[in-house]
């Protein structure tokens, strides 16, 4: 029987409890958002004692379902002030599911200055002193824990940024090789973990694929069918495995939607120098890897291993990080991007928020655009806790206020990812309206606007974008509950057999009779829950807007503005 693991940091107690009936068919984002909505007062201080941090594997995590090892992390965000679910690859989700843990709920905060480590094994869970890990970067913490508890353990941890309670701090866990680079990065959940004085969670499970399944034969057949669907689709079967995510640099650049120089242009002259093709070539030439799986059982293997000139390894450099720390800063050098990415991973920062923040600092003239060495030097200040370092770790909206910058690309306090909403208007609708703040993963309209997956809606026109974003946000919320990687959506959007195969797997695992309509309803329910939390936290529909410069400043080369009106954006939630 699956259980909840409740960790009371105030009393330093751990206990396993039964899963309430109402949570039985929830997983991943559906479960983290439900628990946060049920147990966290929406008006609470995200860093105070009433906030909670929730970890949940997806419904299918820990089984043989392909690419199903995603981990959801939820809480009230110190960056946005709203509900947050951040989602990571890595190996701990499958381990938690195999230990029969449906969710970990971290609550309260201890008195005093101590730091703690939560150790979870098949025998149970215990809180240990972690004073010796405090102040250390995530790579070192992960290496120490693997040395101490075994090389196969999963290590969830925060870096110094999380310990300093900085609002752009993420929560990381490691890949099969021990790289602590698989981040639930967005929204500052690292600071929520730091506020509970929890430095790390070590998950030791001998099993990866043996989570209980009610009807193994049926499950096996459905998983096989779904694997074939992923292998057959050109993006999940060829594109992602061959080139990884950074291959998007060129296509988004050609589409004129690659935010360059803090969202002032849509094309970067040196895009090729930071492209996925260049990354793959350099990685392989240096003994790294152009393709790599972030968790066992992934068939897309879109990750990479990029050796840096200083002997360190950045694994991976993903598209969003590549863009945020490259073109967004007018930096056309993958070694600089890799170095910045590595520092973010080590100090414990979200790469997207950090890149957007550095862009704002460049806009302010604090660092020159294109100056990689200055960017590295500034970023290194985060770990030292200098005033500039703390500003960088606090995100783009804070940095904009400190330096009086008006071109601050953020919604609900969260920095925009790697697609300019003036040249990819569907994603602009998602940025504006997602309960998460500006988040590309919560309704990836780029697929349909630019990659021509799941149909085609012209990225430069306002028509059809609201409907597109709404449908994607509903489907994504449901998908984020399964533990499946979001990238399966490329196949699911095009192949009518895709979604039924997912539902078959869930039904076989849980002995349920869910239909496709139930899945859509689950997605709607999650969004309603998250939006209601935000409403009670003080958000109104007027917060579902992009910064005004997107409506005022034309973006070259297409010279378009974001022209979807507020009342149209409000229609996203008419379900």
């Amino acid at each position: 029987m699956a259980r909840l693991l409740r960790v009371d940091m105030t009393r330093r107690e751990v206990k396993f409890t039964d899963v309430p009936e109402k949570y039985a068919l929830l997983g991943g984002r559906a479960l983290t958002s439900r628990i946060v909505a049920d147990e966290v007062p929406p008006t609470c201080d995200p860093l105070g004692r009433f906030n909670k941090l929730v970890f949940a594997p997806g419904l299918l995590s820990g089984t043989n379902a392909p690419s199903s090892g995603r981990l959801s992390v939820g809480g009230k965000s110190p960056l946005t002030g709203g509900i947050k679910e951040a989602n990571a690859g890595g190996i701990t989700s499958q381990k938690l599911a195999n230990l029969g843990i449906k969710a970990i709920v971290i609550e309260g905060k201890p008195a005093g200055e101590g730091w703690f480590l939560l150790k979870i094994t098949p025998a149970g869970a215990e809180l240990l002193d972690a004073g010796d890990l405090a102040g250390k970067g995530t790579y070192e913490v992960t290496a120490i824990c693997r040395e101490r508890y075994g090389s196969k353990v999963g290590v969830i941890t925060i870096g110094p940024a999380g310990e300093m309670l900085l609002a752009a701090a993420g929560v990381t866990n490691n890949d099969p090789d021990g790289n602590s680079s698989r981040y639930a990065g967005r929204g500052g959940l690292g600071a929520v973990m730091g506020a509970r004085r929890l430095k790390a969670i070590v998950v030791d499970s001998p099993k990866t694929f043996d989570a209980p399944v009610k009807d193994p034969e049926k499950f096996k057949a459905a998983a096989k069918k779904f694997t074939a669907i992923l292998r057959k689709h050109p993006v999940t079967g060829e594109g992602l495995p061959n080139f990884g995510t950074s291959v998007l640099i060129n296509v988004i650049n050609e589409a004129g939607a690659l935010p360059t120089r803090n969202f002032s242009a849509g094309r970067f002259a040196r895009a090729q120098a930071v492209s996925g093709e260049k990354l793959a070539e350099t990685a392989v030439a240096r003994g790294g890897k152009a393709t790599h799986a972030c968790h066992p059982g992934c068939v897309m293997r879109c990750s990479n291993v990029y050796p840096l000139p200083d002997g360190k390894v950045c694994a991976p450099i993903e598209y969003e990080s590549d863009w945020a720390l490259g073109p967004n800063l007018e930096i056309g050098d993958l070694d600089v991007v890799g170095r910045l990415n590595y520092i973010c991973n080590d100090v414990g920062l979200d790469t997207i928020e950090t890149g957007v923040t550095l862009g704002v600092l460049m806009e302010a003239g604090v660092i020159p655009f294109g100056d990689g060495e200055a960017a590295i030097k500034a970023l290194e200040e985060v770990g030292r806790g200098t005033y500039l370092g703390r500003i960088i770790g606090s995100g783009a909206a804070v940095a904009g206020k400190v330096f009086g910058v008006t071109r601050v690309p953020a919604v609900k306090g969260q920095g925009l990812p790697a697609y300019d909403p003036r040249a990819c208007k569907g994603i602009g609708v998602t940025y504006a309206t997602s309960p998460m703040g500006a988040d590309h993963t919560s309704g990836y309209a780029v697929a349909t606007n630019i990659l021509k997956v799941g149909g085609y809606v012209d990225p430069l026109k306002p028509d059809g974008q609201v409907d597109l974003s709404r449908n994607l946000q509903i489907a994504t919320a449901a998908l984020d509950s399964t533990g499946l990687c979001l990238f399966v959506a490329f196949a699911v959007l095009d192949d009518p057999e895709g979604l039924p195969a997912i539902v078959e797997m869930i039904n076989a695992q849980y002995g349920t009779q869910l239909t496709l309509d139930d899945v859509t309803e689950l997605g709607k329910q999650i969004l309603r829950t998250e939006r209601e939390f935000n409403r009670q936290a003080g958000f109104t529909k007027e917060h579902d807007r992009l910064p005004e410069f997107f409506a005022l400043e034309e973006l070259p080369p297409h010279n378009t503005v974001f022209d979807i009106k507020g009342e149209e954006l409000d229609q996203v939630y008419n379900f």
Binding site: E238, F243, N250, A271, A447, D458
Partner: protein
């Protein structure tokens, strides 16, 4: 007439002198379509997933204009 062509993500192996993202100046007959350009470059048409002309999606039958910037991609995704 001349058009500016870029091929990406592995398509360069079909085109002599191409590198990923390198701008190639290609002579095509007046009124040539995207499909004819692809045939002239000897790229198997099933390898092309997306064609942009001047940063906008184009269908294979689109008639090219002098100086057009054409970009050709195989299936790719990410995010």
């Amino acid at each position: 007439m001349e058009v500016e062509v870029r091929v990406f993500s592995g398509l360069e192996k079909f085109v002599p002198g191409a590198g990923p993202g390198k701008a190639l100046l290609v002579q095509v007959p007046e009124g040539a379509t995207g499909r004819e350009l692809i045939a002239q470059l000897q790229i198997p048409s099933d390898q092309i997933f997306t064609m942009f002309v001047n940063g906008r999606h184009a269908l294979p039958e689109q008639v090219l204009q002098p100086g057009d910037r054409v970009a050709l991609f195989p299936p790719i995704g990410g995010g």
